[in-house]
């Protein structure tokens, strides 16, 4: 049954991706005959839709993994400050003009920022030999405020160009999507999804608690570390592609549990697909609703997702608390 639902999800996601490529303020025919249409399709639409898809996939899968390893239904890269840490690190690199790894510099900085932030959150949440979910969450919220404040400080004192770029890291923006970063984003996101999906049994066991995970034959700390690396890769990729977009990581895993159950072996890929589909729809709406004005995609994801999320919270088969 869940396999059939997974196939339906794949089909729906593909359909949404295709719609996002060809629809918008200007409808482009798949046969794109004119030079303008070709330009729109290959230079604007395709990179933008690919970035939305990859970012949504990364955020959805990261949320599913984080909610499991932290045993907290509120965990997502945004709330835990991992996104803002990645953003701050990437923004510092861009404004500081760092290019030591060429076009790979920004994704690498975002990845390192995500890992360092996650590490700090982990240290703050560690007490008496274990991770305390409430401490983690509070530490993440605190760090998130701090990093956002530092980004705003940078905005206040930087040049116009610096300001424009720093805005991107704070609010997320798909309109600046460009081809050169897509290969790195694709590689990071795919490695992150594969890594976490291959550790999905361990994630299921960690959801029950470290002692259960140990009893079922896993080494909880090692498994949590591997899964955390996968989150760092995916969040770093997402931020380096289009800045911070919140809510998808929180929302999508809960929706996917409702449709496909809680087994992480299904939930991680399903959350990736669902996250990708939601951000593609949100982006399509954001650029089509009031042209030529573009609304922030993060706003649309929240407006679409929040009421449904609140409805799901009322159902006990979605959340056991």
């Amino acid at each position: 049954m869940s396999q059939v639902r997974m196939l339906v999800l794949i089909a729906v996601t593909l359909l949404i991706v295709l719609c996002s490529v060809f629809l918008g303020p200007r409808i482009v025919s798949p046969m794109a005959t004119t030079d303008i249409d070709k330009e729109i399709l290959f230079s604007i639409r395709l990179p933008r839709v690919l970035v939305a898809l990859l970012m949504g996939m990364a955020l959805g899968a990261s949320g599913a993994v984080l909610q499991g390893i932290l045993r907290n239904p509120l965990a997502d890269p945004y709330i835990l400050g991992i996104s803002s840490g990645a953003s701050l690190s990437a923004a510092l690199g861009i404004i500081g003009g760092l290019t030591f790894l060429g076009t790979f510099t920004v994704p690498m900085l975002a990845f390192c920022g995500a890992l360092v932030t996650g590490g700090i959150v982990g240290v703050m949440g560690w007490k008496r030999g274990g991770l305390w979910p409430d401490r983690l969450l509070l530490a993440g919220v605190g760090l998130s405020f701090l990093f956002s404040a530092l980004l705003m400080l940078m905005m206040s004192i930087s040049t116009d160009e610096g300001l424009r770029r720093a805005m991107l890291w704070i609010f997320g923006d798909l309109s600046m999507s460009e081809w050169p970063r897509i290969p790195y984003g694709l590689a990071f996101v795919m490695i992150g999804i594969l890594l976490s999906t291959t550790r999905a049994k361990a994630l299921n066991a960690l959801i029950l608690g470290d002692e259960f995970a140990h009893s079922l034959g896993f080494a909880p700390r090692r498994e949590r570390f591997i899964l955390f690396i996968s989150v760092g890769l995916m969040t770093g990729a997402s931020v380096s592609l289009g800045g911070m977009i919140g809510f998808i990581g929180l929302l999508i895993p809960h929706i996917m549990r409702f449709f496909l159950g809680s087994d992480s072996r299904m939930l991680i890929p399903a959350s990736a697909l669902g996250g990708g589909a939601l951000l593609c729809i949100a982006d399509l709406i954001s650029r089509s609703l009031l042209p030529p004005l573009e609304l922030p995609a993060g706003v649309i994801t929240a407006i679409i997702g929040a009421p449904y999320f609140l409805y799901l919270l009322r159902r006990k088969d979605v959340l056991s608390i």
Partner: protein
């Protein structure tokens, strides 16, 4: 405390443990668990019962002493091989993700590449929950939740169950139900059980009890021998009367303390 004739599954010898350098939680602890044993670990809050079970299952590593599982050093065993021999159930089962009963029980297969002969349905049959396979944990009573996790350990194939206060927060009806299930599993599948518990009267139902105080064993053996007025006073700091039940058994009365 196994009988001498039965093979020893778990042996702790001179085990000590401390969570911090200033205070030793477990000191020089030695005991063994034989095949098919049914042992109650009894002691006041903070006496070290949970720590002993975590040491026995390998979750905690002792500072000194040795732990043998089927004659092999517990901490040199591969994680998955260990999981096929021993299973630990913690006291709290607070799970925020809505797994179905079937999903939870099937996690017992995780240590295996090639699934064992027993299926999820077989395990659910043994604990009487087959008709609730698709229900969520929140739909079940406290007793049924415990049985769900027992089914998981059955599928896991472990011959030794270490259970941390499985009777806590259960109505007496569910306590009896769970104890009967565990006894049945011991009889039918020769599974050994070591269970931490508080209730002295429930401890009288065990084949053997180990009485713990401040991380040390102060008495062990047949419950009617161990649970004397003096020993209970020593371990729990309460005055009790040991009374005959009129049916050959005994029970512990606390009524003096309320006078």
């Amino acid at each position: 405390m196994s009988s001498a004739s039965k093979p020893k599954i778990l042996e702790l010898d001179g085990v000590s443990y401390s969570y911090d350098q200033n205070r030793s939680v477990i000191s020089d602890l030695s005991f063994s668990v034989g095949e098919g044993a049914f042992i109650g670990l009894l002691g006041a809050n903070g006496s070290g019962k949970s720590t002993i079970l975590k040491l026995g299952s390998g979750i905690l590593k002792p500072l000194s002493g040795s732990l043998l599982l089927w004659g092999k050093s517990l901490h040199t065993l591969n994680n998955r091989d260990r999981a096929k021999l021993i299973s630990y159930l913690p006291q709290t089962l607070d799970i925020t993700v809505p797994f179905t009963i079937k999903e939870l029980v099937s996690m017992g297969l995780y240590p295996y590449d090639i699934p064992p002969a027993m299926t999820v349905d077989d395990a659910l049959d043994m604990v009487g929950l087959r008709d609730k396979a698709d229900a969520h944990l929140t739909d079940l009573s406290g007793g049924e939740r415990r049985r769900t996790f027992i089914a998981m350990t059955l599928l896991q194939g472990a011959g030794l169950l270490l259970l941390d206060e499985p009777l806590a927060n259960l109505d007496i009806k569910y306590q009896i139900e769970l104890l009967k299930l565990l006894r049945r599993l011991k009889e039918q599948r020769n599974i050994s059980v070591v269970m931490a518990l508080h209730d002295i009267n429930i401890a009288l139902q065990f084949e053997s009890v180990i009485l713990i105080q401040n991380g040390r064993i102060i008495a062990s053996g047949d419950p009617e021998t161990v649970l004397t007025r003096e020993m209970v006073k020593h371990a729990f700091d309460v005055n009790v009367e040991i009374k005959g039940s009129g049916t050959g058994g005994i029970y512990v009365s606390y009524e003096n303390n309320f006078l």
